[in-house]
């Protein structure tokens, strides 16, 4: 609301120029967050993307100090977290689902990941008709996630950051969907234990370590249901 009021004043030329410059800086910071988040989420370009995200956060902080009216920091932090997480699941799992699994980059990434954390990504890799992981149960989840869930969630995270109501609503829906996918994925892991966790170097410990990143949905659900939704009014 405050942002909207300020924007109107800016149109009328009431707000001093330094405030407009700060608002422009905040807008620029958002672009760094979006592009950096997507690059970081690709995992292959994380070395470029992650510093871009950090620069975006620093720029936003500077804009705030110079007088820009910005959204609450909790929205920025949670939104960027969801953005990077959705991009990681979308782009990375996408390389296993699509023909990128035949490239040297794809094979290097997935075989290494499989050897360390999940045997389904190196035992008989690229040996099914669909290519990629040889675990049958993984493919339906990949199609669901790469074609529906994570593109939606990526867009929702961005809209959430931009304080759009549909972004908040879509994040709530995709958070529940994420939990469903995660549970199905866990069942696959457990039922095919010898070929998956049992065939990985880090085994159950590695599994527990990377599951930290799946904390997101569980943390966010109480937030979504207690926050004042009227803030998302853009």
């Amino acid at each position: 609301m405050a942002t909207l009021r300020r924007r109107k004043h800016t149109d009328l030329g009431v707000v001093p120029p330094e405030v407009s410059a700060a608002d422009a800086m905040a807008k620029r910071a958002d672009m760094w967050l979006l592009i950096g988040g997507c690059l970081a989420g690709s995992l292959f370009l994380g070395l470029i993307g992650a510093p871009m995200v950090m620069y975006g956060l620093w720029l936003l902080r500077r804009a705030e100090k110079q007088g820009a009216t910005i959204r609450p920091w909790i929205v920025t932090i949670l939104g960027v977290w969801m953005l990077v997480d959705a991009a990681a699941n979308l782009f990375c799992w996408g390389t296993d689902l699509l023909p990128a699994h035949d490239t040297v980059l794809g094979v290097t990434y997935w075989a290494s990941y499989g050897r360390l954390a999940d045997g389904a990504y190196y035992v008989h890799y690229n040996n099914l008709s669909a290519g990629g992981s040889a675990a049958w149960g993984e493919k339906p989840l990949e199609v669901l996630s790469v074609l529906i869930l994570f593109p939606w969630r990526l867009a929702a995270a961005w809209a959430f950051i931009k304080m759009k109501r549909w972004g908040l609503q879509s994040l709530v829906i995709t958070t529940w969907m994420y939990i469903f996918v995660w549970l199905a994925y866990e069942m696959n892991q457990v039922m095919d234990f010898p070929n998956r966790l049992g065939a990985a170097l880090y085994g159950v410990v590695g599994y527990l370590a990377y599951n930290v990143f799946f904390l997101g949905p569980f943390v966010l659900i109480p937030y979504f249901y207690t926050v004042n939704r009227e803030q998302w009014s853009e």
């Binding site: 909790i74 094979v107 075989a111 937030y223």
Partner: protein, 55 residues
Amino acid sequence: MDLDRPEILGRPPEGVARMHRVILIIGAVTLGALLFFTMAVMPYFVWRFGWGYNP
């Protein structure tokens, strides 16, 4: 902190505000870990197994 700025949020009840602070801390820590992971994962794989690893 922004949660204490009533002109932006309205005032949430104290218990909710505390929970939001905890969620913010968890989010910030996990985002940091995730960014570090995205930077480290590919170089680590190449260092550990080599480029083109396909057992």
